[in-house]
């Protein structure tokens, strides 16, 4: 019986999946930035977050990958869509972004990218002799509730304060005469 693994070696499939996710991430990032329609930007952001989820899975961390999918694609992008749909700003016609502004932004970001690439290529990382691959959800949960308990509490407090603040700010804004 021939399976697909007889024709394509698994390592090639893994590499193909990795590069597919990289391409999805970068295409989504470009799509999130370039178009001037806000809905297209949000869809691009969702695509980029989906690609990052795949890369986290490739790195071996299932829990963080699922959280990425749930929080970014499921919560943040949907919140953006809600904010756009529930308020009129979508109908406002945005002016075309000025060419000078775009050129300046391009120059600044390219310079930042070149500087970062220089740093990455010149750094001497000392690789671990035996890197720990204990990335299971169980270990993560145990550490999160024992050693890094403060982080857990901090996230909870931050989210609670942010929700209350968001309701207050959006609810109490007064219309100007």
């Amino acid at each position: 019986m021939n399976t697909i693994a007889d024709f394509i070696p698994p390592i090639l499939v893994a590499q193909g999946a990795f590069w597919l996710m990289v391409v999805l991430t970068l295409a989504g990032a470009v799509l999130a930035v370039i178009p001037s329609k806000i809905v297209h930007n949000v869809l691009g952001l969702a695509l980029a977050m989906f690609g990052v989820t795949g890369i986290y899975l490739y790195l071996g961390s299932q829990f963080v990958a699922m959280m990425q999918l749930l929080i970014y694609v499921g919560a943040i992008c949907v919140t953006y869509i809600f904010a756009i749909m529930l308020s009129p700003p979508l109908e406002l016609d945005l002016p075309k972004p000025s060419l000078l502004k775009a050129a300046t932004a391009l120059i600044v970001s390219v310079i930042a990218f070149i500087a970062m690439i220089q740093m990455i290529l010149n750094a001497r990382w000392a690789p671990l002799a035996a890197p720990s691959r204990d990335w299971t959800t169980k270990t993560l949960g145990q550490e999160l509730l024992t050693r890094y308990f403060l982080v857990f509490e901090l996230i909870s407090l931050l989210l609670a304060v942010a929700i209350i603040g968001a309701i207050l700010i959006a609810g109490l804004g007064r219309e100007r005469e």
Binding site: N41, Y56, I71, S109, E143, I155, R174
Partner: protein, 102 residues
């Protein structure tokens, strides 16, 4: 591809695309979306360093979770501020929101 540098380069690319969008967009929501890209580029670096260099197996993942929580809180607060600003100024372009004349 099983190397630290490829993940770092990907993170740097996302970060720089985010900076480009932050400087180039003229609407507040577009700038917020670019900020999410910047945060994700940083989180990608944490995951890569945790995978390849850290003896502790979880610290980078927990920092990434913290970044996600901060991003969610930031999105909620910033969107409500944008809605409040829109109600007041009828405007979501950055240039249009100003009261001082001069």
């Amino acid at each position: 591809m099983e190397s630290l540098s490829s993940y770092l380069v990907l993170g740097a690319l996302m970060f720089c695309i985010g900076i480009f969008g932050l400087l180039q967009q003229s609407s507040l929501i577009g700038m917020l979306i670019a900020t999410e890209l910047i945060l994700n580029g940083a989180a990608m670096n944490f995951m890569a360093f945790n995978m390849f260099l850290t003896p502790d197996p979880t610290v980078g993942q927990i920092f990434t979770l913290l970044i996600m929580g901060v991003a969610a809180a930031e999105a909620a607060i910033a969107l409500s501020i944008i809605i409040a600003v829109y109600r007041r100024f009828k405007e979501i372009r950055v240039d249009g929101v100003s009261e001082l004349k001069g």
